[in-house]
Symmetry: C2
Subunit: 598 residues, 2 copies
């Protein structure tokens, strides 16, 4: 009987075995655990009608048996500051959701099985903090005989992943749970994130919390908060209050320290790190309202009529770069960095450092003087990095920069300014090519390829007065449609992307994971959910358990039906994820494929 | 004083004058009406900080003066079954909205002006029904001195347009209204619509009502309801109840006769016609569940592996065409047509007739026999049209078909089967080329060019198992992104399209107007609002008052700032219209243009 098993020992043994070993062990486990149904060794399979997204690494359910969830169902769990609220939340969800799948699983609700009364959680290391690399492994077994499910997790954060898995295994009214099921699960990549830009347009705290909640349901673990940019400075920094007071969109569009604390706390209770980005020295026009003296080329027209693209003042409308030659720049910026490090417990600090545009710095008189004396723009950036990076490291932070700081064509720093043990580079250009450049240079990488992971692409350009849209003939508006990173990234584009493509095994180890990015030129709360979901679920599965089946083939065909179901469940949970197909396709699996696969 | 003017006489005289005459008359009107401020003849201008969308044909506001809306503000109006509820609705909106523009208009709230106490409505023809071509002209004058605004309209429907205009002129808390303003307004095109597909995915009645409400706010007047298709049959047809009982997505996804009545009534109270489409003979797979005997090629895989595109069975997954050779087809279809004509008072009936796919009919044994005896597919379609069109006309309906019925490459009818006085063709292919073909053939046209007016384009393909998305190299997923009608149609693409481009003046008269279309393969209620709005507002202005300024130049640059404001107002009214730009752009007009226009 399952109760007689030491599931902690099983979990530990399981951790140490090979994939094949895991299967043999599971056979044995199931023979013991499922005595009432298994007379022959079970036919193990990763296929299952249990629809957990992202798909677990290993899910074994030899017989399609289920039992009712007891009306007195409860969860027993060790006490933990962040896990306990998660347990309470999941208990409520599990008892009240009564999810009705679009395609009802073929299960037999066994009369011989006891109703499931308890989910018993065991956490091996309750002290592990939520930080990069924390062990998220868990194992989940639902006994067929004793009315108990057992969740063993390496950490509290792994337990949250297991709770989510369990919650997705419950459906119906009255609620039904599969029994005789065993899940072993752990992520392929440690860093699985969503980047949201709250500067170009503002999002309410509730929007951010809802996004973090949905991330947790998809087993994502990093909310990369691109807080500030040239357009607004919505973060109230206690020691520099003027930045938000003057640089935000208004008093009702500011994140106060208590807002940040609420978001961080919410993240902790959902196993999601909140990684702040204060973009500088570029993308900082919004600092001008408080400190005009530290910002070069502020409030200028971004691309003067008749000038070359190379001579523009910003990557897009909204000019302004911090001036590396003004000591005041560092006084203000260090205050910001220190306060951000206080507000956010996260041990990564994102410094931005993308898109330093030559024309902006060149427009500043003091910089002109520096350049005319033989200085270079890259030297300016080195000065900036050297005046801030050591300070960030001194606050016990690892710095994340966008790849530009090392790979930009024009303005970049020598790698000697970027200590490899404290610097991570986030790639967004040239697909896998730049990922390879970063890891070849010995840096850890986070992948946010604009060709695959930019969620804002394909909605045209946001610029006004654009004559390319004044076409009358058929096809006149074809081509890229005006979006610099067109086309729209479909869920299949995202799902199929292999972020370590073309890397050696050693190089691949430097890839921490990936992040989809939602830049907000054409996004705000009205479209937040459908822009992010369910496409981000596609990345979530690829980074958690991969995008291939047991035979090594890409599994996007069968993932279609699973993702339709998961998207529907997200909608019923209050996330306005966009539809992928007509409901008819969901009801007729395979019939909406490009070839008849059935 | 304004009260001494006979505003009905003024309105009538105004109607009869030329554009220049209108200006001269307005000068005179304003001299009389605005004695307290106008000492010299006013500098007339269409430019204004009053942000009414779509922009009125003529808006004169010589001095930026405003007054408060009286707390006792009321609207006096003749009693009318549909106008009276609209008046009550607008009275509530006007008194409670307290809109705060993103960029506050520069107005002087005049102490000398009386608070506005009354909007006095006069309707010249209260009996005109809501139907194609009804006169929507109105004139609106806000007196500066007597606390009254005067709205004179040709019909109740024109009065609703004027009420919307007036509502958009009120802002602030306490509410402020411009005074000394005169508006004359009428649409350039009589048919201004939105097509929504409720078959591929279902929309609740509330979603449809919200859409009709937003259409009315944009002065659109036709909700083209593509009710049925191959994927589901959600309309409960009283004499053929099995069609929805078996062909809908489920009992909670059916439009009952009382739902339809509610939608039609809501349309009437918003000046929006509800034009039903029952697509046939193609796009009718959902009829199979009730009547398998009348549907050819039902429930087959749409594009068998290895077969040519020309041999597919449907334009997309979801097969099934009505069989023109089975008498039962017409028995069922005529019951449907008769009931639809009863449910919908609208005098247009849309019969579909698009995308008859040769492979589908060819898959049917009885049709195979007909073809092997020398018959053609086009003869089959002629039989179908000849067996239904006269019946539709006998019910006092004008028939709308998609252009395919006349212009398809393979399966089409001779124009002798399509009487020009009772047939309108809706174009969707080849941009202005097909519009020209239709009007050259002597037919009236409704323009829904997929290159300009299809709102679903640019989101990739919805097909599963699509290997085009399995690309790893940078740019590998570029190109069209999988959407057959890519790219995404931006608001500027839509705004700039001239639906009578390349037509003679006589030909242009046959173009009734246009419709944007939202096909629902990748849409459902989660994305309804942002897919439709504010891009549809762009078409709304172009079809109402055009897309050019007084000098004849396209006005998309200044429209950007106005549309940002209008989009924001729609959001505050509960329509989740997607953002076009960062808020920063709205606050800094012109700074997000492609060239420095200021």
């Amino acid at each position: 009987m399952l109760q007689s098993l030491n599931h902690k020992a099983l979990y530990n043994a399981f951790e140490m075995t090979s994939r094949e070993g895991k299967r043999r062990m599971l056979s044995k486990f199931l023979i013991i655990a499922c005595l009432t149904v298994i007379l022959a060794p079970p036919a193990l399979s990763l296929q299952s009608e249990i629809n957990v997204w992202p798909k677990p690494r290993l899910l074994v359910w030899p017989k399609p048996l289920a039992t009712f969830l007891s009306p007195n169902f409860t969860i027993s769990s060790p006490n933990h500051q962040h896990l306990t609220p998660a347990v309470n939340r999941y208990l409520c969800l599990i008892k009240t959701e009564h999810h009705h799948p679009l395609v009802t699983p073929s299960v037999i609700v066994s009369n011989s099985s006891a109703p499931l009364k308890t989910l018993s959680i065991n956490v091996i290391d309750l002290t592990a903090p939520l930080q990069h690399g924390v062990n998220e492994t868990y194992a989940l077994a639902v006994s067929e005989v004793d009315g108990t499910a057992y969740l063993t997790a390496a950490t509290a954060w792994g337990a949250m992943r297991g709770l989510e898995t369990f919650s997705q295994m419950v459906w119906g009214d009255p609620s039904v749970v599969p029994v005789g099921v065993y899940v072993w699960d752990a992520p392929l990549f440690a860093h699985r994130g969503v980047m949201l830009d709250t500067s170009r347009n503002y999002y309410a705290v509730e929007d951010i919390l809802r996004t973090i909640g949905a991330m947790s349901a998809n087993k994502l673990n990093v909310f990369h908060w691109h807080i500030t940019d040239s357009h607004s400075f919505p973060l109230m920094v206690p020691s520099e209050p003027e930045l938000a007071a003057k640089g935000s969109y208004g008093p009702d569009m500011i994140y106060s320290p208590s807002d940040v604390a609420r978001i961080v706390q919410f993240g902790l209770e959902h196993g999601v790190r909140v990684l702040p980005e204060i973009d500088s020295p570029g993308h900082s026009g919004s600092w001008t309202e408080a400190y005009p003296e530290i910002v070069a080329c502020a409030n200028m027209f971004w691309w003067p009529a008749g000038s070359l693209w190379a001579d523009r003042l910003a990557s897009e409308p909204g000019t302004g770069h911090l001036n590396p030659l003004n000591p005041k720049t560092y006084q203000v910026l260090k205050n910001v960095i220190r306060d951000v490090a206080t507000l956010f417990p996260e041990t990564f600090y994102h410094g931005g450092a993308d898109e330093v545009i030559p024309g902006c710095w060149k427009a500043d008189p003091t910089i002109q003087s520096f350049l005319s004396n033989g200085g270079t723009l890259s030297q300016l950036l080195e000065t900036f990095v050297n005046s801030t990076l050591p300070y960030i490291i001194s606050l016990n932070r690892t710095v994340v920069y966008w790849e530009d700081v090392l790979l930009d064509d024009n303005v970049k720093v020598d790698s000697s300014f970027l200590p490899r043990e404290y610097t991570i580079l986030q790639t967004w250009n040239n697909g896998t090519n730049n990922t390879k450049k970063i890891v070849e240079a010995g840096y850890q990488a986070i992948v946010s390829s604009s060709e695959f992971y930019y969620l804002d692409c394909g909605h045209g350009d946001f610029l006004g007065n654009d004559s390319i849209y004044d076409q009358q003939t058929a096809g006149g508006n074809s081509g890229n449609g005006g979006s610099w990173c067109e086309p729209f990234k479909t869920w299949q584009t995202i799902y199929n992307y292999d972020i370590t493509y073309g890397l050696s095994e050693e190089e691949a180890k430097l890839v921490l994971g990936g992040e989809v990015a939602l830049w907000s030129e054409q996004a705000d709360p009205t479209v937040l959910d459908p822009r992010i979901w369910p496409r981000t679920s596609a990345m979530a599965e690829t980074l958690w358990s991969g995008n291939r089946d047991e035979t090594g083939n890409k599994r996007y065909a069968e993932a279609t039906d699973r993702l339709n179901e998961w998207r529907y469940r997200m909608v019923t949970r209050g996330i306005k994820a966009e539809p992928l197909q007509p409901l008819w396709c969901v009801r007729n699996p395979g019939m909406c494929n490009t070839v008849n696969a059935f």
